[in-house]
């Protein structure tokens, strides 16, 4: 035992692990970003933005190569000869698609009401499947503050959890720490949507705390209730896929339903951060 305590490198390592554990614990709570984090994020942000944009072209290329038949491959070989034209075409296509997505996004925001908003691109995701957070390329420079609502053209994405000078981290509604006050559009019943952990790509949300005797069927649409200061009322959250009820066999069941989110979190590229409304100052 004494030998272990005399092993300096091991003791330094244990101390470092404990310190990092304490740091992780401290940073898991609500807090402000330190200047070191803000500066590091700002330095890396242009590189991240470039890498995120370039990756779409790279992934599209690999998808074309691996998802083709023989005829397509032959066509692909012919296309290689026209590489310059293809590159220009791909760039035009990317810009057109981005333009379409942004138009769709802005149209959706305008339907929500009189909000001020900022558009941003997703530039990186958290490693692994344990936490569902991602980084966007807009921060305090665009007026973004902590706990602002983030949406896409499909519906509710999440809330801003950390803000740097030129970047922000967003905790999505499918993260296990996320809780959103929601309402079933058909019945106006109010409940809480909670992120559901999944080790695969099956991203889902749990619905809790509906009033007893709730009327819910698969396919019901769930929207934000507007009861919190963070999420405005009426933003699409998802669709009910499974309804669960307390039975004699399962008396401890507290979950009311499983919701499939409206947003495809695996292919999120642009988002809108609602920075304020006509009636509210931020």
């Amino acid at each position: 035992m004494r030998k272990i305590f005399k092993n300096k490198p091991l003791m330094i390592m244990l101390a470092a692990v404990l310190l990092l554990g304490a740091l992780a614990f401290a940073t898991s709570a609500d807090r402000s970003v330190t200047w070191i984090e803000s500066a590091a994020g700002s330095v890396a942000q242009p590189v991240q933005t470039f890498a995120a944009k370039a990756s779409n072209a790279i992934i599209a290329f690999f998808q074309r190569v691996f998802k083709t038949t023989d005829a397509d491959k032959e066509l692909e070989q012919l296309k290689v000869r026209l590489a310059r034209f293809e590159a220009a075409e791909a760039e035009n296509e990317r810009l057109r698609a981005e333009n379409e997505r942004l138009k769709e996004l802005l149209n959706y925001v305008e339907t929500l009401g009189d909000y001020e908003y900022v558009t941003a691109s997703v530039i990186g995701n958290n490693q692994g499947v344990w936490f569902e957070t991602f980084t966007i390329n807009a921060g305090r420079n665009k007026g973004i503050e902590k706990d602002m609502c983030v949406i896409s053209s499909a519906g509710l994405v999440g809330r801003v959890s950390d803000v740097g000078a030129t970047w922000s981290k967003v905790t999505s509604i499918i993260d296990v720490s996320s809780e959103v006050s929601v309402m079933v559009e058909r019945t106006r019943d109010v409940g809480i949507a909670h992120g559901l952990f999944s080790a695969t790509d099956a991203r889902k949300i749990e619905l809790y705390y509906l009033p007893s005797g709730y009327d819910l069927v698969p396919g019901d649409i769930v929207v934000t209730s507007g009861m919190s200061d963070i999420f405005p009322k009426g933003i699409l959250v998802g669709t009910v896929s499974e309804v669960e009820r307390q039975t004699a066999d399962n008396p401890s069941l507290t979950r009311n339903a499983i919701i499939v989110p409206a947003v495809d979190f695996g292919h999120l590229e642009e988002v809108v951060v609602i920075v304020g409304s006509a009636g509210r100052e931020n």
Partner: protein
């Protein structure tokens, strides 16, 4: 460390960060995401030793945490411990042996995913341990192992000159020590 070696290392670290944060989440591999950063740390710790491996793991892990993670420090713990553990095999195996980098990457990935699983559980995630072990942690470990082998081969080639110099210096020290 020579300047060009540092430049290679920085380029490799950037590439690993890009793969982990942008490429792997976008390319759907059945929900499984290999860990390029860990593969790099495992490979480099075998080439640089425990202390340098741990420092590299700590630095890269912290950068990844600050840029992308909700909790700062978790990736750093995984990468630092992997770097320190990998360093124990520094100059104790044949450079062409690919079993050691694969083993270290496997052990590192297992450790790191368990740290993340514990943090997720403490944050409120509800999951069956054995289900997650079979459906995510082990496949993720295997993919990280598969990634660590080419990464090790590449980094070993880039650092071949430096490894030769260090071996020569060690031999010289041993000979001088033997003479005195």
């Amino acid at each position: 460390m020579k300047r060009f070696s540092l430049a290679f290392l920085a380029a490799a670290a950037l590439a690993a960060l890009y793969l982990d944060s942008v490429f792997f989440p976008k390319v759907n591999l059945g929900g499984i995401r290999p860990d390029a950063l860990l593969a790099l740390v495992a490979a480099m710790s075998l080439l640089m030793g425990s202390t340098k491996g741990a420092v590299l793991g700590l630095a890269l892990g912290l950068v990844a945490d600050v840029l992308y993670a909700r909790m700062v420090g978790l990736t750093a713990i995984g990468c630092m411990v992997c770097g320190a553990a990998g360093g124990f095999f520094y100059q104790k195996y044949y450079a062409d042996n690919l079993v050691f980098p694969a083993l270290i990457a496997a052990a590192g990935a297992l450790f790191k995913e368990h740290v993340m699983a514990l943090a997720a559980r403490l944050s409120g995630a509800d999951f069956s341990y054995f289900h997650v072990l079979g459906s995510y942690i082990l496949p993720c470990m295997l993919m990280t192992v598969a990634l660590s082998i080419p990464v090790h081969a590449l980094m070993k080639r880039l650092y071949a000159g430096q490894i030769r110099t260090e071996k020569r210096a060690m031999r010289d020290r041993a000979e001088t020590g033997g003479a005195s």
